[in-house]
């Protein structure tokens, strides 16, 4: 089998499997998987910047929240329907990430982490500060009536699953296409050796900015869809926790692997879900498993898979 056929087979196969699972899964897991697919899309956006471009951001909650609030506020205050609201969310995420990129990409390494973290905190505080419109900490609910997309009720589990799958499929396809393109190969080169890439004639600043905007836009799309599907918009999603989550998911699943974010999100979601069923000290179990994984699979689950079995994994 050619490499291309393997790549298409694996990623297409995953999408087909996810499509089929909706008919087989019990309601509880069906709901979980819908949520996981949306969060995994967030992680795919994160992976583009962290896994492929080598930029460790601690501010992605800002992009997720930009999408969520961009969409949520348009529904709440202007009564817009989900489709234009999603576009507003996406545009908000792209704009915020471009702005942050222009500032933060002047730094590198630890300074980049700190600048992104600080701006995300500023975003979080802004949401609290403008509580009159955002309802601050409490957040707001997007009513069921406002979550109708061309007659489809997004609060209904079946259509919700389908919408989450659609978002995930688009994110996965965009990521796969991107990392195999000229642009994506240049991002990988920047990750590996930025100075050399620059001295081959590439404008590395412009390309890192491009990566940041695409990453921010995908994360924002995930945030917008999350709000629209699950009907709640709140400041928690802008907190530092939501900057750390995608980093963890990507590290666990495999940074710089297209399916890594999904595997990591799925794994972590069920790790917490299962261990909290066993004991109240579930974070302890989760912590131990995470430590073991970083010790024995430092490249993440799919990173190990690539190293040991499937060197062609993009």
């Amino acid at each position: 089998m050619s490499e291309r056929a393997k790549v298409v087979g694996l990623h297409g196969g995953l999408l087909v499997l996810l499509f089929a699972l909706q008919f087989a899964l019990p309601a509880y897991h069906h709901g979980n998987l819908a949520r996981i697919m949306v969060l995994a899309s967030f992680a795919i956006g994160y992976n583009l910047l962290f896994g492929y471009t080598g930029l460790l951001s601690l501010g992605h909650a800002l992009f997720f929240a930009a999408g969520m609030y961009g969409a949520g506020l348009s529904v709440l205050h202007f009564g817009w329907s989900p489709a234009p609201a999603l576009i507003v969310g996406l545009a908000a995420g792209a704009a915020v990430s471009a702005l942050l990129g222009l500032l933060a990409l002047r730094t590198a390494g630890v300074a980049f982490m700190i600048v992104t973290l600080m701006f995300a905190q500023a975003g979080y505080l802004a949401i609290l500060y403008f509580g009159k419109w955002t309802y601050g900490d409490e957040g707001f609910v997007i009513a069921r009536a406002a979550r109708m997309l061309h007659g489809v009720d997004l609060s209904d589990p079946a259509s919700r699953y389908f919408a989450a799958l659609a978002l995930f499929a688009v994110s996965l396809a965009v990521c796969l296409w991107l990392v195999r393109s000229r642009f994506g190969k240049t991002l990988i080169a920047i990750r590996e050796n930025e100075e050399r890439t620059r001295m081959l004639g590439y404008d590395t600043f412009a390309r890192k900015l491009g990566a940041m905007v695409i990453s921010g836009a995908i994360s924002a799309a995930a945030g917008a869809v999350y709000g629209l599907l699950f009907g709640y918009v709140g400041a928690t999603f802008a907190s530092v926790q939501y900057s750390i989550f995608p980093l963890l998911w990507v590290l666990l699943g495999g940074a710089g692997v297209v399916v890594g974010p999904f595997v990591g999100t799925l794994f972590m979601f069920y790790l917490i879900d299962l261990s909290s069923g066993v004991t109240t000290a579930y974070m302890l179990i989760a912590g131990v498993v995470l430590v073991l994984l970083t010790l024995f699979a430092p490249q993440g689950l799919t990173g190990e898979l690539r190293r040991r079995l499937w060197p062609w994994l993009p």
Partner: protein, 235 residues
């Protein structure tokens, strides 16, 4: 016709004058060797030419155009290529992808593969295309750098001590490669190996303590008393 010219190019690093007032004039098609003792300022000088290092004063003209204010990537796109003195390859990418990254600035699609094959073949690495650059021997990494330079098909190729760490047979191959390229590309070659300088260069510029000490044909330079004193030692 001058391809590259510097006027009064200087660089000081916190009190240390690494390069002072260098006027260099490089005609199109010439192979120019740049020699000088360790710390003479050779790498700093070419760094200012290709844009890695900002000059303290002076100007650089390339193809008649003042490029002093251009960032490095823009200069490279005007037709310069630079290979690093300290090997700098993409260690976790294979040799072919290393060269392809260099080629993709210039050619697209199907053409890339052909350029990559040719550049690797020219430096004798055709059978290493699929090897990770980091797994290549030091000498082969140097050759890979040269292949990356070739894939850019530059008008000005700047090589910073390309033969350092190469075996005798590889040095011989390198000499004939430079003779092949001569006439097409203009080459600025920093080199410590005098046999390479004598056999490949049209002219030699000697840098000492940041200043041009002498310039001339290889044989003249070899006979120059001041150069012998500063650099060649026994001559």
């Amino acid at each position: 016709m001058t391809l590259l010219a510097t006027q009064g190019l200087s660089k000081h690093f916190a009190g240390l004058q690494a390069v002072r007032g260098v006027d260099l004039d490089l005609p199109r098609g010439e192979v120019r060797a740049l020699i000088g003792p360790n710390g003479a300022g050779k790498t700093t000088l070419v760094g200012m030419i290709c844009g890695r290092i900002a000059p303290s004063s002076g100007t650089v003209h390339f193809d008649g155009r003042d490029i002093t204010a251009l960032p490095a990537h823009r200069r490279i796109n005007l037709g310069m290529a630079y290979t690093f003195q300290i090997t700098s390859v993409f260690a976790r990418l294979d040799a072919a992808e290393n060269v392809a990254l260099a080629a993709r600035r210039r050619v697209r699609g199907e053409g890339v593969e052909a350029v990559v094959q040719e550049a690797l073949a020219r430096v004798g690495l055709a059978d290493r295309a699929a090897t990770l650059a980091g797994d290549l021997s030091y000498g082969h990494q140097r050759l890979l750098e040269i292949a990356m330079g070739l894939a850019q098909a530059p008008r000005l190729l700047i090589l910073d001590e390309p033969t350092q760490g190469l075996a005798e047979s590889e040095i011989a191959a390198f000499k004939s490669l430079i003779r092949d390229l001569a006439g097409g590309a203009t080459i600025l070659l920093i080199e410590h190996n005098m046999s390479v300088v004598m056999e490949t260069a049209n002219r030699v510029t000697v840098l000492n303590a940041g200043e041009v000490l002498a310039e001339g044909a290889p044989a003249e330079i070899r006979a120059d008393k001041a150069v012998q004193a500063a650099y060649l030692g026994t001559g």
